[in-house]
């Protein structure tokens, strides 16, 4: 008897196979990978399998938002500041060309060396960062530019000033802003999708996730510290809450998985960017045709369905 999880993944796979987004060469490859993941799921993926995606998602050489911007967008012009109080460098915003389309980009940005990491606050945004994102979103809506968001953060910054400036409210309002947009929106989790700080910029028509990215309600260390009372049990925590792409797809949280080069995105940044670009273009091709009202309705209806209840 196949398990319930396996049945769900099978159902999802057959549905995905019928979606235009997933046709074409590279996407056939993606289906092949999903099939592999399905095969692996017949025995529950081991804690090691899941921990491997945690490590790859955090790999120090993994491409960050600006690495993809350089390779995916032409003529990128960065927009700075929230027009209120600061320019939060943990979030990058700007406009550029994705093939023929002018798009608005919003993405978390981590730093490569110590100096940049500090300047980028390790990709952990303050409320100012989410307000900067909202500014870019409203620009997109005003001009009818599609919105691309790239998600890569350990989480929103937990600090005194961040709380004083309204971290919770900013995260809520950023999601609300995305729920209101009339333009096509595509998000991709490209590394760490850490909790509220991640979903703040990931409420989109189509949410993609790279093969080795993670998307989770809490960090493995944070979860381990509470439930196991030992941050050292992060492996077990990750295995328990399953932040890997295959599980996110199975649970209906993401719409498609973006393939990475063998060994992970850090092994070949150009190839990783090429695969990401193809998926983004295919995703926009998929949703471009919708009427703006209909697009909003469908987007909200998608989130309305999320969650699993017991049948009583």
């Amino acid at each position: 008897m196949p398990g319930e999880a396996e049945m769900r993944l099978r159902a999802r796979l057959s549905k995905l196979g019928a979606v235009k987004l997933l046709r074409g060469t590279k996407l056939t490859g993606e289906l092949g990978r999903l099939q592999e993941q399905l095969d692996r799921l017949q025995e529950e993926p081991s804690a090691e399998d899941i921990w491997r995606s945690v490590e790859l998602a955090r790999h120090q050489d993994r491409p960050y938002t600006l690495d993809y911007v350089d390779r995916v967008l032409d003529d990128f012009f960065e927009l700075h500041g929230d027009r209120g109080r600061a320019d939060d460098r943990a979030i990058v915003t700007g406009i550029g060309k994705l093939e023929q389309r002018t798009v608005v980009l919003v993405g978390h940005q981590k730093g490569r060396d110590l100096k940049e990491r500090t300047a980028r606050n390790f990709g952990m945004a303050y409320p100012e960062g989410y307000r900067k994102a909202m500014r870019a979103m409203s620009l997109a809506d005003r001009h009818g530019f599609p919105l691309v968001t790239l998600v890569d953060t350990p989480g929103a910054y937990p600090g005194v000033a961040a709380e004083q400036h309204g971290q919770g409210g900013a995260i809520a309002r950023s999601q609300a802003a995305m729920a209101r947009l009339s333009v096509p929106t595509v998000s991709c989790i490209i590394g760490e999708g850490g909790s509220g700080g991640a979903v703040a910029i990931a409420v989109a028509d189509l949410v993609l996730m790279q093969e080795n990215a993670i998307y989770s309600v809490i960090s493995p260390e944070g979860c381990a510290a509470i439930l196991w009372r030992d941050a050292g049990e992060a492996h077990k925590a990750a295995a328990a809450f399953k932040p890997d792409a295959a599980h996110c797809l199975e649970l209906g949280v993401i719409d498609a998985i973006v393939a990475e080069p063998d060994g992970g995105a850090h092994e070949n940044q150009d190839e990783a960017a090429r695969l990401l670009k193809e998926s983004l273009v295919a995703a926009f091709d998929e949703i471009d045709g919708l009427d703006p009202e209909e697009r909003r309705r469908v987007r909200r209806a998608k989130y309305r369905r999320m969650g699993i209840l017991a049948h009583v």
């Binding site: 929103a156 937990p158 600090g159 005194v160 961040a162 709380e163 004083q164 400036h165 309204g166 971290q167 919770g168 409210g169 995260i171 809520a172 309002r173 999601q175 609300a176 995305m178 729920a179 209101r180 909790s195 509220g196 991640a198 979903v199 703040a200 409420v203 998307y215 989770s216 309600v217 809490i218 944070g222 979860c223 510290a225 509470i226 439930l227 196991w228 009372r229 077990k236 925590a237 328990a240 809450f241 399953k242 932040p243 599980h247 996110c248 649970l251 949280v253 987007r299 909200r300 989130y303 309305r304 999320m306 969650g307 699993i308 209840l309 017991a310 049948h311 009583v312």
Partner: protein, 284 residues
């Protein structure tokens, strides 16, 4: 005004156990602020506010509803919804066991009660959270019940009053718990587009994913005195940043000063305040 010792308040999802340890040290009816001790009926009669110093004790969801609505006016909805265990989550104990225990202890199906009622004769929908059910954490059931009550508020043209008390998203439901943030937010967007309104009351504590979703999106946002309302809990902030936290870190008073709240409302004033707002928001 509460003079709660914030150094001992820690209710972020991350530190729920630390909170348990704190609770273990004192009787729940002993005022953590002034040390006065009360019989349960005394406290209940005084809306669970310390008669000596005004400290606001936590209020369970059913008692909160009794405090707020006209007698016999509350009609509960969706009481039968229960959590599934999509991840077969197991930490030191299975999630299903924690759920069953929470239901036994609280008599509730999950951490929120929803329904319709009148307050001083004004019709409204209600969504009231209960911190006693797994720290008021938000999983699929809380999100679903909240979304449904939003839809009914939109259909009926009645304002929605929410009273939150939550440590945040429910870890045991993994990424699906995080998805309840956009889910509840999309429901509020639909409510607002239909011309409906949300009055959000933040009780102690409203942190993490609930603060970062529906609780912050009220047309009017109120809080009780001394309510902790921070995205990250004080302990997490202290450990991560090694900053010295201000005495009023994350409290309603601090949030009011920084512009994140419309008013801090004493508990005895909550019912008349909500009634007043319901009259102001009534579409006639």
């Amino acid at each position: 005004m509460s003079t709660q010792d914030t150094g001992h308040v820690d209710v972020s999802v991350e530190d729920k156990r630390a909170e348990d340890a704190t609770l273990g040290r004192a009787h729940p009816n002993t005022c953590p602020s002034c040390g006065s001790h009360y019989r349960d009926e005394e406290l209940q009669r005084n809306l669970r506010v310390c008669p000596q110093c005004g400290h606001h004790f936590p209020v369970r969801a059913r008692e909160r509803i009794e405090q707020l609505v006209d007698p016999e006016s509350f009609a509960e909805e969706d009481a039968d919804l229960r959590s599934a265990d999509p991840l077969a989550f197991f930490d030191l104990r299975p999630y299903t066991e924690r759920l069953a225990e929470a239901e036994m202890e609280t008599g509730l199906g999950d951490a929120i009660i929803t329904g319709s009622a009148t307050i001083e004769g004004e019709e409204c929908r209600l969504a009231v959270m209960d911190f006693a059910f797994m720290g008021g954490s938000m999983g699929s059931v809380v999100g679903e019940k909240f979304a449904r009550v939003c839809e009914r508020a939109a259909e009926g043209g009645t304002p929605l009053v929410s009273v939150s008390a939550s440590g945040g998203a429910r870890m045991q439901e993994g990424i699906l718990a995080l998805m309840q943030l956009p889910k509840t937010i999309c429901a509020i967007e639909e409510l607002h587009e239909a011309g409906g309104s949300l009055l959000s009351v933040l009780a102690h504590p409203t942190t993490g994913g609930v603060l970062a979703s529906f609780a912050s999106l009220g047309d009017v946002v109120l809080a009780e005195p001394g309510a902790l309302m921070s995205f990250a809990g004080p302990r997490v902030v202290a450990q991560t940043t090694r900053e010295k936290l201000p005495d009023d870190f994350g409290l309603a008073e601090s949030n009011y000063r920084f512009g994140h709240l419309d008013a801090i409302v004493q508990r005895e004033e909550l019912r008349p305040t909500l009634a007043r707002l319901l009259r102001l928001f009534a579409k006639v």
